[in-house]
Symmetry: C2
């Protein structure tokens, strides 16, 4: 059989047809279903954007109202999931917890055995609502706080902040998170979405695909990067160091600075543009621009020195910090947004499925090497 050798990590290889998301890495363009991310960040909501990702077009007034209602209705977790969250050890990280709890959600989903398009849309509503609830509830539980019941009158972003903090979020906080959720909602065949498609393509279920995607997002080369950025900012702050000197030193020691560079973008990541603006605005509003100033100084230096652009993770760190969110929730928040894209891709994969099964270039011992009895081995 003819085989073609792809670049390492499948760089530049087209692995699927998809109508969900378009990226022009040279021009720095990201669009969901043809609509530029800048327009969506400015005008849309997470709910409307999710409808767009799932349905391929913006909703009518009625459709949008129904979407809000359905997503709000889906804000329900089986008590056994909550009991399970209570049983986890305090050392469990939120991403491990989310991965495990999402896997267990399939036990209680009425559509578990139905892999049809419509059933997967229903499961996508459930998963979108449930992921956010799991993150908020687990954070309350690990802090010994009572669980806050969902508020069905709030938006996805607003309800998450409400269930997380137990106080009604400000409009600024809600809108900031809402925009962050729009920006993170999809990104074509990123590693977690690709993992979800590989899993779904065996005709396994959407819970398996999303569980696998969460596992991929957990990695520091993917979603984990925004946590690494904040840890860097905190370390610089604690050391009372100059951010540029600190990063210069890291680069001299061949340490990787998270939040820079992107496999696909060769220019500015268009999501970074918005997150930079939000980070700056939040700092100004709070009269506390430390994290933004530090981030900006590092960005300018790394850009000048290494020709690397800040990516989506770089300014989401300081943005979330100013929203008062714990560091180890940054990647879970990425997940509660990206579930929109994962669902869209799984459904698209199943609508025109083929098993995803590449080949390897063999570099091991020559064939045939023979088995020999253990006493005759060197």
């Amino acid at each position: 059989m003819a085989t073609a050798v792809a670049g390492k990590g499948l760089e530049g290889i087209v692995a699927a047809n998809s109508g969900v998301c378009w990226i022009d890495g040279e021009a720095g363009v990201l669009a969901y279903r043809g609509i530029d991310i800048h327009e969506l960040a400015e005008h849309s909501t997470f709910e409307e954007t999710t409808y767009l990702l799932w349905n391929g077009r913006l909703p009518s007034q009625l459709a949008l109202r129904e979407f809000h209602a359905q997503l709000a209705l889906a804000r329900e977790l089986d008590q056994r999931i909550i009991d399970m969250l209570r049983s986890f050890p305090a050392s469990a990280t939120p991403m491990e917890v989310l991965r495990t709890a999402v896997s267990a959600l399939s036990f209680y989903d009425a559509d578990e055995k139905d892999n049809s398009h419509d059933a997967n849309v229903r499961k996508s509503y459930n998963l979108t609502a449930q992921l956010a609830m799991i993150v908020a509830i687990y954070d309350r539980l690990r802090k010994g706080k009572e669980i806050i019941p969902p508020d069905r009158s709030l938006s996805h972003a607003g309800n998450f902040l409400w269930m997380l903090n137990g106080v009604k979020p400000s409009e600024t906080a809600t809108r900031t998170l809402d925009i962050a959720l729009i920006l993170h909602a999809d990104h074509e065949l990123n590693a977690s979405t690709f993992a979800a498609r590989v899993i779904a393509a065996t005709l396994s279920d959407i819970h398996s695909a999303v569980t696998g995607a969460i596992g991929a997002l957990k990695g520091p080369l993917h979603g984990g990067a925004n946590e690494a950025v904040m840890r860097l900012l905190l370390a610089i702050d604690k050391a009372g160091a100059d951010p540029v000197e600190y990063v210069k030193n890291m680069l001299a020691n061949k340490q990787k600075v998270s939040g820079f560079g992107h496999r696909v973008y060769k220019t500015e990541d268009p999501r970074a543009t918005h997150l930079r603006k939000m980070s700056e605005q939040l700092g100004r509003d709070a009269g506390q621009s430390k994290w933004f100033d530090m981030s900006r100084a590092i960005e300018v230096y790394v850009k000048g020195e290494k020709k690397l652009n800040a990516n989506v993770d770089f300014y989401s760190a300081s943005t979330y910090a100013m929203l008062g969110i714990d560091i180890d929730l940054y990647t879970p928040i990425f997940a509660i947004s990206r579930i929109a894209g994962w669902s869209a891709h799984v459904i698209e994969q199943l609508d025109d499925n083929r098993l995803i099964r590449p080949r390897a270039e063999y570099i091991g011992p020559v064939y045939p090497t023979h088995w020999v009895p253990v006493e005759e081995r060197g």
Copy 2:
């Protein structure tokens, strides 16, 4: 950026270099680390084969002894995992349970935060021992039977049968399962292994990678196929139908007959050769060759009619049936073998890692489509 368009499902695309497994699909050759699967099935054990997959060579006498000891020592499950298994609803399928429990194992693995080569080898021992225990224990629990403690003097195959059935397994049963485990231990970049590598390549942890792999294996186009084969045999038996007529009818109605054809093999799947032999032998020993005879008739018919060969799943169905194993444990048994390969591939991926991030061919609405206010939408 130059992109190359791959065949659908990445067919024929080389996605990684790997020294674990070599397949010649034209010639029907499968080899682990250069050693032909036929030699391993005849002479090796699951433990020795796993050592080979992980280390690239057959073990010395001492190394093999140590490997057995370490794997036996790893037969331990945190009590909280067992409590969690008890809390799952009776409707939970073994693959959902395995996926969820393996995800939770990371909470209790001392090496959870260590992603080094050595830590991942240690975690691989744990996962290999634990996957088998979870499958056996959950099956006992759902049947209301007491849990059987592991027997560290038994082999991996023997201990699994012991913990599953609570009686010491016969030599024939142990050796049959042992060979089945050898045959299923690795298969290059199959969908579950590829999913594991995609997840691991974000520098996420091995528990995430294996959890995702279990989710992929669950699909009926992958591990789930052997269960589908047995369901077919049972349906034919129940209907008292002629197997060839039954399958002829299925094909006429455009129904897929599971257990035939393979993306990579264009000739007989070398694993099918051994499973056919085992299925026949077990039937003869038991004086009950119904499942084998039925399988053989279907194989001959489908081969003649559709030019499709039986694959690894086709005869594993009747083999496991004659070992008295429940149908919904067939895919979990695949997993308790394939964990050897998943581990080998995750470790190999991390030893020379690059993020796996392909591109999509965009087929959605033209860019730019503009956002319009909801009241202006058609």
